[in-house]
Amino acid sequence: MPPPPDPKGVFLNIPYDEEFSNLYVAYIVGLCQLGMVPHLASEIPGGDRRLTRIFKLIQGCRYSIHDLSRVEVSVAPTAVPRFNMPLELGMTITWQRLHPSRHDWFVWESVPYRIQRSASDLNGTDPYIHDGTVEGVLRELRNAFSRDSAPTVPQMFDVYRFVDGNLDAVLSRNGTSNPFDRSVFMELCRLSNNLVGPLRHNKSGVKPS
């Protein structure tokens, strides 16, 4: 049996594509602003088989978010549907069924009721609908994870704007154009976390130190 999961750990099962990068940043910022610890498959260094690493990550997190909003077939040259997200959701459901007290999973979509057509076996599961927008992701994160003294959605959006406005600099510092790279993910999480303190101090009227 693996060690108990991180009670703040959230495994993010999201599409790694450029059009999704703003929502990806929103997930990171939003989770950090709620005092959660986001995890991404790309953060784990090589060694084991990819599926084994992903499964370990799921086991290490108390929660997971499975964003099934990208159901469209990917663009040319080889147009194929994406099966990674449903596959990882299936692994998570199995893990949760076997150990209900160790994991809770959430399904996210951008379009209401579409999941009933794309994954009808999930009927009875109410997905969080983010409308494909940053505000939607932040709003729904706040709906899914409540916390005393959590920031408001506009406050979270301010942090998002700040982090997203610095994304190019983060990419260039890490010598990549891929926002899903391990080093970029780490830096985005670190920055988002370090902005929690100033926002909380400001909210409570205490001057930031």
Partner: protein, 65 residues
């Protein structure tokens, strides 16, 4: 009915964050600068919103007198 979780786990400490998300020295320095920039931005916003309430406060004080 959607699941809603109330989180009671303590907020991550700076040490926890540092350990959990290791970054290069250059990135660490850049992040420090950005945090200061963000704090300054917040202070400016707070000041601006306080100033925008000033005429209202003056009006109230005047009517009370």
């Amino acid at each position: 009915m959607r699941k809603r979780i109330h989180i009671t786990a303590p907020w991550p400490t700076p040490e926890e964050v540092k350990k959990r998300y290791p970054v290069s020295k250059a990135s660490e320095k850049a992040i420090q600068i950005l945090v200061e920039e963000f704090k300054a931005q917040l202070s400016r916003q707070t000041e601006a919103s306080q100033n925008s309430f000033e005429p209202e406060k003056r009006r109230k004080r005047a009517s009370a007198a």
